[in-house]
Symmetry: C2
Subunit: 541 residues, 2 copies
């Protein structure tokens, strides 16, 4: 079966007709955006953020059809089912309760009839106590030196979101602790970090839900051995963030402290669990981590409760579906006009593409429509000097701009050309969506013409407070699952990573055999793999 849940809706047909209508010359964005109330009608505040979608290729009819689509697909019911502990990750028979990690409502959240909130609160308290002890210098390395370097050993969801949050709040990091991330199994990652930190003052946080992630375990072993070779006790310098009962939770793997993560929170949704909690609390203080959680919680409530017409993540998801499945755009860029948000695109890339790069529905039918798009991005104005040439004159792709009203370093008032740097940044933030939408014609040379009609949104934060970073995180989490709910795909599994893992495992075994017996001739059954192994072991390209 290939007929899919989106195609089966009544709204899909209407939206397809609207897409044809919006392609008419009179519906070029340059005509639409001059209408008087367009900005106020196609923008909304909620959950502490502001979304302007007045430069999307929509009108009132399209928006109404998109809201109808959301209603037909019952996406807000699905969202509320998720936050109440429903088994929304059906292929893995699990709940998806990242929202519970920052639930301050005081209400219980049940998974299989058990309230999980006590466990969540316990882990938060453990993180708070641990961070306080480290910051007070009560917990130190083997030689009594206070910890000044924290290295997170984790990959994918065990680091991308934390890296985003830590980078966004870097200006607030006042605990005299440097934070680094050791993600890749590439030995040049470990080598570079080992050359930068003081072993006696370094705490390594090993993050793996299963404590079997190959890359993370290889790096944890390297770190442990390296600590030992510095004459220190690895147990003093390692902590684990892992599931209860995993190998990392066992006395056979002694570490300074173990913080639990839960089966009902997936890696790419885990920033507000101990995965982000331990490193962010050490880096920024627990109090700021809690503010970050509270911001995320506020956005969760908004996503669950706000009417569709003012529901920011839902509107953003619907526009994603519109641009992808009806206007045919295969990609979307996220461009934060704020360098502290530089790591947001990489986080969203995982969050969105791993969640929504799926081929089958929850009940195993092949999806007829395209699912998730390619997501990429860099900060503006940098991106203007990089790939915006293609955005303006090459193949079009929708862009989500992000603006921050007040910068972290607001104390610089120098002016160039009569404006501050922050004003210059905003002049560009305001100009780009307009230039993309309007285009221009009648230029002196065809190479100077712009076709325009290129859609974009703008998401605004008042500042980079921990609360706002939490809101931003939760906005993208909610937006991601809302798109999945429209297609009826499962945003919480990731079977697509398994085949490569299995094949790598076979190759690893061959390499391990060859390490034991250098004379061994490798034959994997695949002549191309054999050729690569020959290059590798001979060292000759």
């Amino acid at each position: 079966m290939t007929e899919d849940p989106l195609a089966e809706t009544r709204s899909a047909k209407k939206l397809a007709a609207s897409a044809e209508r919006m392609a008419l010359p009179e519906n070029h964005l340059k005509h639409l955006i001059i209408r008087k109330h367009r900005f106020s009608e196609l923008s909304a505040s909620g959950g502490g953020l502001f979304l302007d979608f007045s430069r999307q290729r929509v009108d009132d009819d399209v928006m109404r059809q998109l809201y109808d689509l959301a209603a037909e697909r019952a996406v807000q019911q699905q969202f509320n089912d998720m936050i109440r502990g429903g088994i929304v990750n059906r292929t893995e028979n699990r709940a998806a309760l990242h929202t519970a990690a920052r639930d301050f409502s005081g209400q219980p959240v049940y998974v299989n009839d058990r309230d999980v909130m006590a466990d969540i609160r316990r882990v938060c308290q453990e993180i708070r106590d641990f961070a306080a002890q480290i910051h007070a210098g009560e917990l130190t390395g083997s030689t009594g030196k206070p910890f000044r370097h924290v290295v997170v050993i984790g990959i994918g969801g065990s680091y991308l979101g934390t890296e985003f949050a830590a980078t966004a709040m870097q200006a607030l990091a006042d605990r005299d602790i440097e934070l680094r991330f050791l993600s890749n199994v590439d030995i040049d990652c470990f080598g570079a970090i080992a050359g930068q930190v003081d072993p006696e003052a370094t705490l390594w946080i090993v993050i793996s839900k299963s404590y079997t992630t190959t890359e993370t375990m290889a790096n944890a072993n390297l770190a442990s051995d390296w600590i030992h070779r510095q004459g220190l006790n690895p147990e003093d310098h390692l902590v684990a963030v892992t599931s209860s009962g995993s190998p990392g939770d066992e006395p056979a793997n002694p570490v300074r402290r173990v913080f639990h993560m839960f089966a009902f929170i997936g890696g790419r949704f885990s920033v507000t669990s101990a995965v982000g909690g331990v490193p962010l609390s050490l880096y920024l203080g627990y109090e700021r981590f809690e503010k970050f959680l509270k911001g995320a919680h506020e956005m969760d409530r908004h996503a669950a409760e706000a009417p569709m017409e003012t529901n920011l993540p839902l509107i953003s998801a619907l526009l994603g579906i519109w641009n992808n499945n009806f206007l045919g755009f295969p990609a979307c860029a996220t461009i934060p006009y704020s360098t502290p948000l530089a790591k947001l695109p990489a986080h969203i890339q995982q969050l969105y593409m791993e969640s929504n790069g799926k081929a089958v529905t929850q009940d195993g039918r092949r999806v007829e429509n395209e699912t998730g798009v390619i997501v990429f991005g860099e900060p503006g104005t940098n991106a203007q000097h990089s790939f915006f040439q293609l955005a303006h004159q090459g193949r079009p792709f929708p862009i989500e701009f992000i603006g921050v009203v007040r910068p972290q370093h607001a104390d610089y008032t120098n002016k160039s050309k009569g404006v501050t740097n922050h004003q210059e940044l905003w002049a560009n933030l305001i100009a780009q969506p307009r230039a993309l939408a309007c285009g221009t014609a009648g230029a002196s040379h065809p190479a100077r013409e712009f076709s325009g009609n290129r859609p974009s949104s703008v998401l605004l934060l008042s500042d980079l407070s921990p609360e706002n970073i939490g809101r931003l995180l939760a906005f993208y989490e909610a937006r991601t699952v809302y798109e999945a709910f429209i297609w009826d795909i499962n945003p919480f599994d990731q079977f697509g990573v398994e085949l490569g893992k299995t094949m790598a495992s076979g190759l690893r075994k061959e390499m391990a055999e060859k390490n034991r017996d250098p004379g061994r001739v490798i034959s994997t059954g695949d002549p191309i793999s054999d050729a690569y192994l020959d290059i590798f072991f001979s060292g000759r390209v």
Copy 2:
């Protein structure tokens, strides 16, 4: 006129027919790659690198048609015209001579009947002398402290390529100099860097061809003022890389030293000019920068002279055209299995998307075919734990894998699961193209099935020597212009960035007026822009 140069070729029709043939089930990659000589037939060495395209969706017939296309479009003649100083940037009436920046042939290179090699050699000698003086502590800041921090102030092509090269060679940086990049006009960029460097030991390199780039000038003014406020003389702490005769070259803007860049080398192609030369020589020593140039020169010779069937950048460009214009892929990922190459995707993103995101041919006809694709990427294995779910089970996109046979930190021999970290990395590098190509069927659940037939290439470097980084840089430069030559677009201009600049300029003027007269009511003629200015000045979202 929209009929375009690619569509006009005889080969294009044949390639379109081949695309239909390759879509047949019997031409699924899983069948193609088991053929005995496929790897040796569809791989090539040259210019010091190795390219394997055996997992691209091609066969001998497709490759022959692609070579015919290259011959029809006379792309090697165009390349040779470029390196000999022909006016290949026709809209701007300029040569494009990045290759001359690393030409060690001893032959003259004429632009408008003038040999430019003497100027190029002079600048190299100035860079060599300057770096030696800094490293010897002969040139110091105002207080006599040796320089330990170098901050590059530049945006787009004035920094992305240098950042890539510096990051790739970071393990070789033995001159006790830390290198930072101040690119974005965002005040949080400057604020973060100002908090990290020792003013007395910091040298700022302002890089702008015109010395009018708004972001760069705003940051240079900030830096100059900041240096002054530390009680230091800005002239001692600033150098400029700019065109002869630009404002940065004038006595009115006194700096420690000026290094010239030339009109015939564009920003995104300028890494091997003084743009990369000054910072890289300070960071790594001039000798390593020269080795980097020599590697690039070797690849240039290869790209110019090697027969099409073994010409790596040309083959890569032809496969790009095939995947884009005939198989319909709108994007391409670059995945280096080497963390030191982490900044390569961002560099290529600019190099490729700014060069090839064009809508008109050199003579101003609208291009009928799609031009440049979207380029993005992250290092592997990180990317496997991020967006590879979508690569395996979502919408397909071609991937260019990059492998490095010997890592920089080869001294770690610890093993996990019987293999070193570098072996684990390679097991994954070998596994991923195979998994993407083969796929699998008959899984226990539809969510565990893989359709396969997803194309990829692998580019191999023997190690991360300066020569190899130079080869890699020149490979991507040549590949980029070869694609442009097929479409007959101009890869050297960037008029697509102008409209946004013009609009930002208008907004800046309004903001500057408002700074002078806070009571002023702004009215730009665009109600949406007015709304944003109101948000900005009121501080209320």
